[in-house]
Amino acid sequence: MLAAVLSIGGIGLVAAAALGLAAKKFAVEVDPRELAILEALPGANCGACGYPGCAGYAKAVAEGTISPNLCTPGGADTVEAIAKIMGIEAITAEPQVAVVLCQGDNRKATQKYRYLGLTDCNAAQKIADGPKTCPGGCLGMGSCQRACPFGAIEMTPEGLAVISREKCTGCTKCVAVCPRQVIKMTPLEAVTHVLCNSHDKGAAVRKYCQVGCIACQICKKTAPEAYMIEDFLARVEYPQHAQAVAAVEKCPTKCIRDFSSGYPEGSSFAPPTVPVAKDNAA
């Protein structure tokens, strides 16, 4: 009995001594706050903050020079948690979601040539500026869907990209990859948008798309503060988004959409009820 206790105890003591020495020799300084911040982050490593992964951002925040609200996917809760760890004020930016400003899928918009190549929007755009006749419309090949780290983007069966307002965390990766800049960041609370990205004159737009904006100005006449027409394209003035919904019925091409009544045709997403207050969206 004694031998057993002594031997195991002996081995344990020797090991402990060796480890104690090693701990001193191979000590690595780690800020405990950095670990706590890393815990609080969503862990998606999406890069929206501009740092290499969540570990990179945690390190930068722990060093004390960077604002805690650069993590858009984390949302307000993450910002508050980080602020608490660092002992500073939490200032959250207004939550934003990405919207594809186009409804011209294969049934509604024409193509200028038959494209037989790599199913990638950037590759297709390099060939005669893309197969879609409309110069600003969604090409529908799914580069944004592949770029989204949160699975928030779907391609409808007729070739249109649609972004879920509930799943989108505002990381902006889709905006960066789209060759036509048809995806824009918009405030989460604004549910009404003009879903068109073509600055061509109305007559030209009519020729290549059934649901394009023809800049007829009816929306502006119905709700003057909520709309701005620039270069033959209407846009919602987002601070006044609440008034914009009045023009949805009046639009002759039906290019203005109120997302609270549903997503564009072909989408499988259920209509969002009200702008969703986000917890950790990852």
Partner: protein, 193 residues
């Protein structure tokens, strides 16, 4: 001399610890996504295996058997292995933080790697002399590393292939591991034992 060579070849190829004895599957599947990480893990395991073998051999023949406490073999061996792994963790964290990050949870899990305890116990079961047990554990470590690096190379290639939806991820990895194991069966009969 020849016996030592036979032990080595047997441990690396014929009775490969991962592909033939089916030990150490956890890091084999968990750390084989990239060849660099696989090599890093392999080096760590070779180190732990060899040193653990040496230390446990001495403990068995100098402490456990003389005092008649062979029944404490498992606890004593685990104690040694755990301390060694802790040491390796500290060294890697200091010398290569990148490798430390990419190995993640699998580094401390070397403690529970059944291949490590398996080698230590097998040395005793087979009554190997000191030299023989060193060669055996070195071979086990090399065989483990070989299997992991081969598998990592295959998995890197698989990343480029359009794998059917139902097979993506772990499924196709396990199928590949099975095929690799089948391939290593070709070494059967090369040496006896």
């Amino acid at each position: 001399m020849v016996e030592l060579l036979v032990i080595l070849i047997s441990a690396v190829f014929v009775n490969n610890f991962v592909l033939a004895r089916f030990l150490g599957i956890c890091p084999f599947l968990g750390v084989s996504k990239k060849v660099e990480t696989a090599i890093g893990m392999g080096m760590a395991v070779i180190f732990v295996l060899t040193v653990a073998s040496v230390v446990t051999w001495f403990i068995q023949y100098l402490v456990l058997i003389p005092f008649g406490i062979e029944y404490l073999q498992t606890i004593a061996f685990i104690l040694v292995i755990a301390s060694l792994v802790q040491l390796v963790e500290m060294v890697i964290q200091k010398t290569s933080p990148v490798l430390y990050q990419s190995l993640g949870i699998f580094l401390p899990l070397i403690t529970t790697n059944c291949a490590v305890l398996g080698v230590a116990v097998l040395n005793i079961q087979k009554s190997y002399s000191f030299i023989e047990s060193v060669v055996f554990s070195l071979g086990a470590g090399l065989g483990f590393t070989l299997a992991m690096v081969l598998f990592a190379g295959l998995r890197e290639r698989l990343e480029l292939c359009p794998v059917p939806q139902s097979f993506r991820g772990t499924a196709i990895a396990l199928v590949t591991a099975g095929l690799l194991s089948l391939a290593f069966m070709g070494f059967a009969g090369l040496v006896k034992g």
